[in-house]
Amino acid sequence: MNRLQSIQDLPPLRESIQQALAARARSGPVIYVGMGTCGIAAGARETLQAIEREIANRQIPAQIVSVGCIGMCAKEPLVDIQLNGGSHVLYSNIQPEMVPRLIEEHLVNQQPVREWLICRMADGDVPDDEVQAIQNLPQFRDLPFTGKQVRIALGNCGLIDPTRIEDYIARDGYRALGRVLGSWSPEEVIKEIKESGLRGRGGGGFSTGTKWELCRKSPGDTKYVICNADEGDPGAFMDRSILESDPHAVLEGMAIAGYAMGAREGIIYCREEYPLAIDRLEAAIEQASELGLLGDNILGTNFNFEISLKGGAGAFVCGEETALIASIEGRRGEPRPRPPFPAVSGLWGKPSNINNVKSYAMSPRIVLRGAAWFKNIGSAKSPGTAIFALTGKVNNTGLIEVPMGIPLGDIIFDVGGGIPEGRTFKAVQTGGPLGGCLPASSLNTPVDFDSLQEAGAVMGSGGMIVVDDDTCMVELAKYFLTFATAESCGKCVPCRIGGQRLLEILTRITEGGGTRQDLETIRELSAHMTSSSLCGLGQRTAGPVMSVLRFFEDEVLAHIDDQICPSGQCKKLVRAKCINTCPAGVDTPAYLALIAQGRYAEGLAIHRERNPFPIICGRACPAFCETKCRRAELDDPIAIRLTKRFMAEHESQAPWTPEPLGSPEQRRIASGKKVAVIGAGPAGLTAAVRLAQLGYGVTVFEKYPMPGGMMSWAIPEYRMPRQALFLEIDSIKRGGVEIRCNQALGKDFTLNDLLDTHGFNSVVLAIGAHTSRQMGIPGEDKAGVINGIDFLREVARESCERAFSNKPTADIPDMRGKRVGIVGGGDVAIDAARVALRLGAKEVHVMYRRTGDDMPATHLPEEIEGALHEGVRFHTLVNPVEVLGNGSVTGVRLVRQRLADFDDTARRKPVAMEAESFTLPLDFLIPAIGQMPDISWMKPDQISVTRSRTFVVNEAFVTSRPGVFAAGDAVTGPATIVQAIAQGNLVSVAVDEWLRTGQTPKPRFITPRHDIAPLHNLDDFATARRPAIPKLDLALREGNFNEVELGLGEAAAQAEARRCLRCDLEWLDRIGMPRPTATAEPAAAPKETP
């Protein structure tokens, strides 16, 4: 091409290129391959070569175009095919071995491979044959990933060949430059940019127009336009993609800026780690210079502007403008205090303007389409779009451009497609390593400069890292801090030393050596670094740490107080993830190892040290341990619950008598003291047995005729046969615990009676949460409306009584042939549904106001699966608004729900769509929308309770009344058995401490560690698979309460136990302790039973 002699030469050139491109498309198939760094990393080069080979072999006259990155990193390599000027269709994940079929079917047979296609990129000019085959294919802009995006700076990325200036010119490239040179004064350019409200996309958010103006007004003949392409955030690649995919946009933006400021020289400071970006920039500069779009007398005007490249060595701090200038000048890349600002004294002491790649790339578009257009996008104070590199635990990782002001949650859950592998959202880090982590409660925050800052994070240059519940926030803060301190230049004291001290403290916390004082120190250091550091790096180094302290203080405290890493990531704190995850902290690897060796009694003893209900938990535990089992990374998690159930049942012939705990001296003090436990559920019974083991005289008062709490009164018999249940409750009694049933608090006795009259030294309230929440809708009082928990209790009463006396007595509603509706998505709802089916209901409908994925019962996936399997029908996104019927229920009117903004659990809140209501005919309606403790026995304000009527306790489980402790569901709200057991363990320690010393420190329930040497070679079980859970045949479940889940046999249980990877032994290596040897004495000797 010839040098352009004037501005008027540009439009004819553009038209001729556009015609040539259209002609190319018509002349044969065109194959576009995404060749950004991300694509190449995913194998695009190999795919490209395979395509070249294939079309050469078949002699197809196809043209291959390398384009940049379209942003769908998770789907690379991307291949876009256009046949005969028709529609572009986009294929994802095209590996070399897929190429022959792709070419065969799409190019030869003209039949696109439907299953590999993801969208139609653009409609063709000519109608053609292929349209039939791709008829229902979504448009690119309608994909969830792109639906909410507005692509300005990324407008050309992935669509043009970045190595050809023609492609850029064809898409209005350099038109903006032509326009300003032709008819705008520099002041007009600045005015337009100012009016557009463009704020610095490097993260500072300073008005770009104002910055240009300052530089223009600064006296001096020599000025510099500098482009900051020193993108160094871990996980961020916005600038790189633009430079690689659309380099001319940056050059054009810089030339416009140069014209506006009166600069003749531009410098792009690009890190050397971006070789492809540098190659493409060099080529682009050369092409633009050849065409007369850079250099002297640009487009025939008297404007001269040259751009050169300066490679950076990759120091993160060189993104700071004064450090960047120092680096260009050849000095050590360190910032200097401002003022003077670079606009006054920058590169070589001359006025200089530094903007980020994205700011320059947006400028030509603003000039072309006008400030008003730009201002209309985004939010009032932050117009335009924000570009993010979306990474981490999110389905659609990639490069996105969204309008400013979009809620954070929309980016993660709509554009990003949510959290993969069924994990839950925990936090999102914005602003790169110097930003902040925002929790679920911030998901409605509009994403713009000011709102993010207000929320506790920063906009930054555009890194966005999503983390799920498997991420330890302390570890995450430490990770970012490690980065920031390693990248500190070392010049100023607060950053260099403060960062190091912070890192040491955080490291100590992740290793279990933290103290509460450390939190104060962290805050003090962070405040100091923020106020007193020289540059932005130091001032924001503490950002992630501060946000973690602000939003995740509990998690930090768990590390400090309990030496527990709740998410199981801190290597020195986590012996094994299964132990770490278990609320009761049961030593799973130890008993699995013993099961593998057939030493069941020893295994059971270890289990009972922390959980006295192995049989019950073998059946009804949600098995949090299995969700974190590391074996799942290999194949499937160990079937821990079933293996445990086998162990417990195998030994059920040898009844357990709880053994004494504590020293003789402790027991001597305890022996004279009495503790009353109210409620014989898992929390109460655990607390009772622990206190009895410690030597206290313990009496349990139970309102219902049978002990067991929710274990007896809520869990249906098909999940938990009552014989097994009572077997374990008998063990508690053998420990010396007296259980008095039919003793209702408030009716048969009062707290004062216990403490003042009956001589109890302390009371533990473990009354559970047995009162149903009300729906609060008309008709709730109609006959046929039964609260879920009441319904289950009636059914359970029958099974309990049958277990004792073999005669069914209870008052169970007759549901045979009836239609039953259940409202809710929790355990009680699912249990009620399956019970209703067993009672002979014709139809069972579960109505839930959110989506199925949001159901609380998802922690028991087998239950939902089982319900579906048995024929329960689920209606999601509906909510009852009225119970219909005269006197008794005939149906329920439901209103469809839509999901609006996010709540604190990262789930979208359902909002009624009043217009869309419908009726479901029903005979029974069972609301199961949650339970609360029954506090009707209590005088108002006798003991402080929360709005959910749970007891307010301190960290030592002490209620507002001294001597009265509370634990279990009565404190936590409805939870699981194992969580209640954990509470029982802890409250027993708290009560013991208080009774012996009068102190109430945060209790820790400590048991010995058991290191069991493996006797088998783990390699022999490398390919062993988890057994399928044996289940009762569907036909055999109908109309009865026979147990659905069948246990494992001895051989299967032993084989399964041997699959355990023994993380606990690796932990010994990590902390430098010797592994147990196979010849060592058994760690836990079998317990004698008297």
Binding site: R332, A486, C489, V493, R496, G499, R501
Partner: protein, 612 residues
């Protein structure tokens, strides 16, 4: 220079007037408001790293370093708010936590206002009486003791970079730098080589600016803190530069020498001036010695002088040699003794060269600090005037051009913009063929090149050596008037000696009197004669070969004056008391004259040395 614009601001409610271009720190200091600093040093460019001097500035978010922040009209500054003080204390805590600050084992440690260690002083001032952050005692910080004169203890380094900046900005040697970054940052020499193997010239400027005990010299460390020493302004007698020094003495010992900041050397000294002078001397001569039967016998002044007087009286001709490092007063007395008492003209300097001093307007050393063109003709400032070499480097850093006309290579050659041989300029004017040559383009005149190169300069300085041909000196006289000339004189008081008519040459005589002072006659041969008197402070091969040895005060034990290469008369200040049996030179000469039946009046001798 324009008159600086006055700027009015308020510091701690006190109205302060400053000049545009000043920093807040400077304005405060001028108004008597003290803002503590650590990385800042008045002789170095502001750096803003230590964050000790942070202040609050109204309408500016956060805290700002007063040492870099320029004053603006109407600015309101507070240096003592709780936030400022808290930040300052925190930064101090952090600095103390970073490395191994075992103050009690540090030579810079002291108490109160007068401690050598600025960090420790700030610590006391801010009540840092406990460790807030676990100090890094676990990590071992290296000690670099590879240099002969001083030691770098990284454990005490606070990375203020004063040393690095002094090496760049004052010494212009660019040896020191930084390696690694963040908490791993270390001061290093060159490309992280041991200091002793580096391009370091041991000027010791880094040592002088170090605010802690990280850099300390081997000789004086542990010999006394600031509270226990006496500081005296004096003149270095190492070479003709006559550098201003601060001599640090205690109990009649010279502990340390620092460069005087306000003298033309601006704090700079060379290794000899800073370190060699405090090195232990060879065996001191404390009593007159007379050789009897080949053995020296210690004797009294009376006895020794009587012996010398007798021998001098017998001699036909007495030759005299005198060190150019003695004061003008001593030189004059010696010269006068020979002239008046011995009636001998065979008196000369031991060594020392003074080139012609009448080439044009003489330069001062301050001119050398700020020239835009330096011309070096036939000399090597790196050999005898090492401080001058650093000044040249500094000028080159500031953009001055360097022109060299020389036959010998010097370390400055790589920086030369123009390099000519002496021959290239020695044809000028003096050569009858000059016109012919230029006319026929046989050869471009070197002088023409040189003149062309100097022409654009506004403040050219020309340094020239001794012993050049008269044609060269003649050529130099013809350079433009704006040129300032600085002779490269060898010998601390060689100019003073020249004014007394003394120069270095061979002397004859059947008796010789050598006044050595504390010089070591390395390399020179003692003139052969029948009777030799050597008056020296220390034992050397010459004293061993002498017939009579007389004690002499050292440079630090005498007072008087010297004249340096720029012709400035500099005071020589007595820093130490001489041992009881050592007397001033003039006294010996007066006594000797007396014994020889002549009278020399001390007052007359002093006047001979030149006007006050």
């Amino acid at each position: 220079m324009n008159e600086p614009t006055p700027v009015n601001l308020t510091i701690n409610d006190q109205p302060v007037q400053a000049c545009a271009g000043q920093t807040v720190y400077e304005a405060a200091a001028a108004a008597g408001i003290r803002i503590p600093v650590l990385c800042h040093h008045p002789r170095l460019k502001p750096h803003g790293a230590c964050r000790i001097c942070l202040v609050e500035i109204e309408k500016q978010r956060g805290l700002h370093p007063s040492c870099t922040y320029p004053v603006t009209e109407g600015m309101v500054v507070r240096t003592d708010t709780p936030a400022v003080v808290a930040s300052r204390k925190m930064s101090l805590h952090l600095i103390f936590s970073e490395r191994t600050h075992y103050c009690m084992f540090c030579p810079a440690s002291g108490t109160g206002e007068t401690t050598d260690c600025e960090l420790q002083r700030l610590g006391y001032e801010h009540g840092l009486d406990c460790w807030n952050y676990a100090p890094n005692f676990k990590k071992r910080w290296p000690v670099d003791a590879s240099r002969a004169y001083f030691v770098m203890d990284h454990g005490r380094c606070i990375l203020c970079r004063r040393c690095v900046r002094a090496c760049d900005e004052i010494a212009a040697n660019h040896t020191l730098g930084l390696t690694n970054r963040g908490a791993q940052t270390m001061i290093c020499a060159d490309d992280d080589t041991p200091f002793g193997d580096s391009t370091c010239v041991s000027c010791g400027t880094c040592l002088q600016v170090c605010p802690t005990g990280a850099l300390h010299d081997r000789q004086s460390a542990y010999l006394g803190h600031s509270t226990q020493v006496t500081r005296t302004a004096a003149t270095c007698l190492g070479c003709a530069m006559g550098c201003g020094i601060q001599a640090i003495t205690r109990d009649n010992h010279l502990l340390r020498v620092e460069g005087a900041w306000d003298a033309p050397n601006g704090g700079l000294l060379c290794a000899a001036g800073r370190f060699e002078v405090v090195k232990p001397k060879p065996e001191r001569i404390l009593h007159p010695l007379v050789k009897r039967n080949g053995e020296f016998v210690a004797t009294s002044w009376d006895d020794a002088l009587a012996h010398v007087a007798e021998k001098f009286g017998d001699a036909r001709m007495v030759g005299g040699l005198v060190s150019p490092r003695l004061t003008s007063e001593s030189l004059a007395a010696f010269e006068c003794f020979f002239h008046d008492v011995l009636e001998s003209s065979e008196v000369a300097l031991l060594q020392g060269d003074v080139p012609p001093l009448d080439l044009g307007t003489m330069a001062t050393l301050r001119d050398v600090a700020d020239p835009d063109c330096i011309t070096l003709i036939g000399g090597n400032p790196g050999e005898h005037q090492k401080v001058l070499r650093q000044l040249i480097h500094r000028a080159l850093d500031n953009g001055a051009r360097l022109l060299i006309v020389n036959d010998e290579s010097t370390a400055l050659d790589p920086w030369a913009d123009l390099y000519l041989d002496l021959e290239d300029i020695s044809f000028h004017a003096a050569s009858p063929f000059e016109k012919l040559r230029t006319t026929y383009h046989l050869r471009v005149s070197g002088m023409q090149q040189l003149r062309k190169a100097i022409a654009p300069a506004e403040r050219p300085v020309l340094l020239y050596g001794s012993g050049l041909s008269s044609t060269v000196y003649a050529a130099l006289r013809s350079l433009p008037d704006k040129t300032r000339y600085l002779p490269l004189v060898n010998g601390a008081n060689a100019v003073g000696a020249a004014r007394l008519g003394l120069d270095a040459r061979q002397v004859r005589g059947d008796a010789v009197y050598v006044l050595l002072g504390d010089d070591s006659p390395n390399g020179h041969g003692l003139p052969q004669s029948e009777f030799t008197v050597v008056q020296a402070a220390c034992r050397s091969s010459w004293t061993d070969a002498a017939d009579v040895v007389l004690p002499s005060p050292t440079w630090a034990e005498q007072s008087g004056h010297v004249i340096n290469l720029e012709g400035r008369r500099l005071p020589v200040v007595q820093l130490l008391q001489a041992p009881p049996s050592v007397q001033p030179h003039w006294q010996t000469l007066v006594q000797l004259a007396e014994r020889m039946g002549q009278t020399l009046s001390p007052e007359a001798l002093t006047q001979l040395a030149g006007p006050e």
